[in-house]
């Protein structure tokens, strides 16, 4: 009798393991850090891509209701994919679109903008990637929606899709 109870519990345990492992297989491996609370944008210093003037974040994030910070590079192909969406967003006058050029060659970055168009009111550079890490990003492209109190309301990891644009438009209203 004791043996049968033991066998039963062991079988149950293994069924449990099987179910968990099965579900685990279907989970995606991409890690999305949870933004539990709204974080404030940290202060950073950078350089303008075209004029090469040093500028700090206090001077950039001032005077608008909303800001969209988009991290991009000329060597990143999803950035190319989301570019038309960014051009659309730039037509919205209530939001200031700022581009953060990540670990790029300035010549290539300028060429990228020349060919595809410039949706940004300002482009600043992150030469060694440290600004992006201090913002909590880890790849390109990433897009942040920031409000007038410099709080990060929403973060998009990966290229912007149709749904993301709709979400952004909702927030901007």
């Amino acid at each position: 009798m004791k043996n049968k109870i033991l066998l039963f519990t062991i079988v149950l345990f293994f069924i449990f393991c099987f179910v968990i492992l099965f579900k685990g297989l279907n989970n995606s491996n991409i890690y999305v850090p949870k933004t539990i609370s709204e974080k404030t944008l940290v202060n950073f210093n950078s350089k303008d891509l075209f004029s090469e003037i040093e500028i700090s974040s206090d001077q950039i994030f001032v005077g608008n209701e909303f800001y969209i910070l988009n991290i991009w590079s000329s060597w990143c192909s999803p950035c190319r994919d989301e570019h038309p969406q960014l051009m659309q967003l730039s037509k919205n006058s209530s939001v200031k679109l700022i581009g953060l050029n990540y670990k790029d060659n300035p010549k290539n970055a300028k060429k990228f903008i020349d060919i595809l168009g410039n949706p940004y009111s300002m482009i600043i550079i992150d030469e060694n990637g440290t600004i992006s890490i201090e913002l909590g990003a880890y790849g390109v492209p990433e897009t942040y929606i920031i409000n007038k109190d410099k709080k990060i309301i929403k973060k998009f990891i990966g290229p912007l899709s149709e749904e993301s644009i709709e979400e952004i438009n909702l927030i901007l209203k």
């Binding site: 043996n3 066998l7 062991i10 079988v11 293994f14 099987f18 968990i20 492992l21 099965f22 579900k23 685990g24 297989l25 279907n26 989970n27 491996n29 890690y31 670990k103 060659n105």
Partner: protein, 365 residues
Amino acid sequence: MVLEKRLFFTSWVVILSIVTFILSLSGTFLVRSGILNSVHTFANDPERGIFILIFLFVLIFLSLIIFFVFHKENNKKIVKIYWLSKETSILVNNWFLMYFLSVVLIGTVYPIFLEVLSSEKISVGPPFYHKLIIPFLIPFLLFMSIGPNLNWIKSKIKKVRIEIIILFVISLLVSLLISRKIGSVNLINIVLISAAFYLFFITAKDFFSKKFKNYPQKISHFGFSLLILSILLNSIFSSEVITNLKVGEKFSFKEESITFESIENTKSKNYRSIIGHFKIEDKQKNSIQLKPELRIYDQPFTITSEADIKTTLYYDKFLVMNLVKGNEYFNVRYQFKPFMIWIWISTLLLIIGGIFSLFKRIYEK
């Protein structure tokens, strides 16, 4: 082989064999299916993983059925055994090894369970394993020094021989010396290092004694202690340097200096290669040449890095270089790994001991 001598714990041995096989299959599943973040994964979708998973669990259930239906514990011969005997030491050894196994298994599998049950992702890495394994390693090593010398069923506590005490004291002194040298004198270090040395001395003494009784066992045990000792010394005395160098530059650190002498461009069948010539020079002006390579393949465009390693009985010197995007300099990584070859030699000894005991069985029949 051990089981033959005494018909004890037959159930345990059977369970152990089944578990070993099942775990090796689980290893295949965990690594190849993509369920864990691993460099060995080649699955793009869960399909392959599901197949291995189902296969694995069919085998698990079959083994359970076979075990519970067909196995009967041999309870006829109940022989008295005493605390101080070989049987107990084998049990204690299994006990500790099962603990190490459970640490590794739980550490690997727990993130999966946690993610499915609570959507939270954690990473389990070296700090976890060090904290849970090292404190148990010390008593384990000490038991291994005592165990093999005990008799089956019963051992009397003989007068402790002088040699054993001398070896113990030597281990302690060596350990203090090493701890002092690395600047980190604390109880854990001293005891761990002396336990490793003590086991090494004891098994070496048996290994080099002229008695041929139980020779395969002596080889294996010596191999095991050598393995533990070389891993320990290697991890204590390894050093690594990462720096950026242009051609012609020299980088000096504690004991040695790296000079980036020149670059060579060559072409092979399906790749171009950039070979870096480096000179590693130590304080006594002895130098070696290391030539790591960067291979540039075309279809598809991939750059791979080939390290160059110089191996001697005392150390391995390892050098690898990487392109830094858009720059003239290379990122150079140099590792000094002492006693590396002994880790391989000791594993070889373990295997030889196993093969010898197999032959011994056949010979005795």
